[in-house]
């Protein structure tokens, strides 16, 4: 099965590949995996004043998983934390034209976003209790 043009583009020119320091202020980290295929995805957000100013990912898996996370980081930038929580895997499926067998890659990206947001919120809540 051939990958869609958009998947190939993200695969060849991944956007925002890399990572932030986990401990850095305002950084939320989500690490998730797909037990069926063994793909591992790390997605990080950097938040300032409730807005995601930067996002990075590292994905070890198939082209669709890489493209899904690359696209996710593009979409995350500029969104508020609340808006980011509304990104659905189906949006990714639509944008990348993922075939049914690759839908789980988009689910993985959504899970990674959720995990990164949860991690960010946990860190923020922790700060407040310290104060």
């Amino acid at each position: 099965m051939a990958y869609s043009e958009k998947v190939v583009d993200h695969f060849n020119n991944p956007r925002n590949m890399g990572s932030f320091k986990k401990e850095e202020d305002g950084v939320g980290t989500g690490i998730v995996g797909a037990p069926e295929c063994g793909d591992v995805m790390k997605l990080q957000i950097k938040v300032q004043n409730d807005t995601i100013v930067d996002a990075k990912f590292k994905t070890f898996g198939c082209g669709s998983a890489i493209a899904s996370s690359s696209l996710a980081t593009e979409w995350l930038k500029g969104k508020t934390v609340e808006e980011a929580g509304k990104i659905k895997n189906t949006d990714i499926v639509q944008e990348l034209n993922l075939p049914p067998v690759k839908i789980h890659c988009s689910v993985l990206a959504e899970d990674a976003i959720k995990a990164a947001l949860a991690d960010y919120k946990k860190k923020e809540d922790g700060k407040e209790t310290v104060k």
């Binding site: 690490i31 998730v32 995996g33 037990p35 069926e36 295929c37 063994g38 793909d39 591992v40 790390k42 590292k58 070890f60």
Partner: protein, 239 residues
């Protein structure tokens, strides 16, 4: 899973439809062919792979027995033998062969067999979703970083590069051993599962034990997949 009662009733309907020959409408007593008109009968699509190959839902399988059964059934259904038959029979032969091939391919490999069984039994387990292995993920990501560093530097030989290569090779061996350990544990669980399946009266403790076996198998299977992937990457780069 969503509507168990409905699923069960549609299955009964299918079995009822199946028990009648599509050609002569007599009750089909034979397994794959009508006893009266000798026409080939469709294998139900609802049938699981174990049932398809006439096997109980056990994890220890005699490979030779399975192969023989597969060849025997293949000969019965192979499309080549139906070229001169009616359209309906040709369609049944194709459908049966496809199902049979998928069943054999899945069950002959112990890992795929276990994955398939865990999926089949998933409906009967309350909370089968395991915690994601956070430590393993961290370990994999850190190894992938090392691999990246190694690939980037592999053009210019240096003492650091040699040291990194040695470290990665030793990591690779450790992980290969871990994969083998997971597989041995998995095969131990095969026997536990089979023993529990053979219990004629499934009491509550037996059910609970089965649930915990399925859960552990599922966890082992997914962790093994993560480990296998990183091992493959390591072997491809420094192996």
């Amino acid at each position: 899973m969503d509507h168990p009662p409905r699923a069960a009733s549609s299955r009964t309907e299918l079995q009822m439809a199946r028990s009648m020959c599509w050609h002569c409408q007599s009750e089909v007593a034979g397994e794959y062919f009508c006893e009266r008109c000798v026409k080939v009968q469709p294998l139900s699509k609802e049938q699981d792979y174990f049932t398809c190959l006439g096997l109980p839902r056990l994890l220890t399988i005699d490979a030779t027995g399975l192969e023989n059964k597969f060849y025997e059934m293949s000969r019965s259904f192979h499309p080549d033998f139906y070229q001169t038959k009616t359209d309906t029979e040709r369609t049944i032969s194709l459908g049966n062969s496809a199902l049979l091939n998928a069943a054999y391919r899945t069950l002959k490999d112990p890992i795929q067999r276990a994955e398939y069984l865990v999926r089949l039994e998933a409906g009967s387990v309350k909370e089968i979703r395991n915690q994601p292995p956070a430590d393993l993920f961290e370990e994999i990501l850190s190894l992938q970083d090392d691999l990246e560093e190694f690939r980037a530097a592999s053009g210019q030989p240096s003492a650091d590069l040699t040291a990194l290569q040695a470290k990665l090779q030793s990591d690779c061996e450790t992980l290969e051993q871990r994969q083998r350990d997971m597989e041995s544990r998995l095969f131990e669980l095969f026997e536990t599962w089979d023993r529990l399946q053979r219990q004629t009266e499934p009491t509550e403790p037996v059910r609970a034990k089965k649930e915990s076996v399925l859960k552990e198998m599922r966890e082992l299977l997914s962790n093994r997949t993560y480990v296998r992937n990183i091992v493959n990457d390591l072997v491809a780069t420094v192996g």
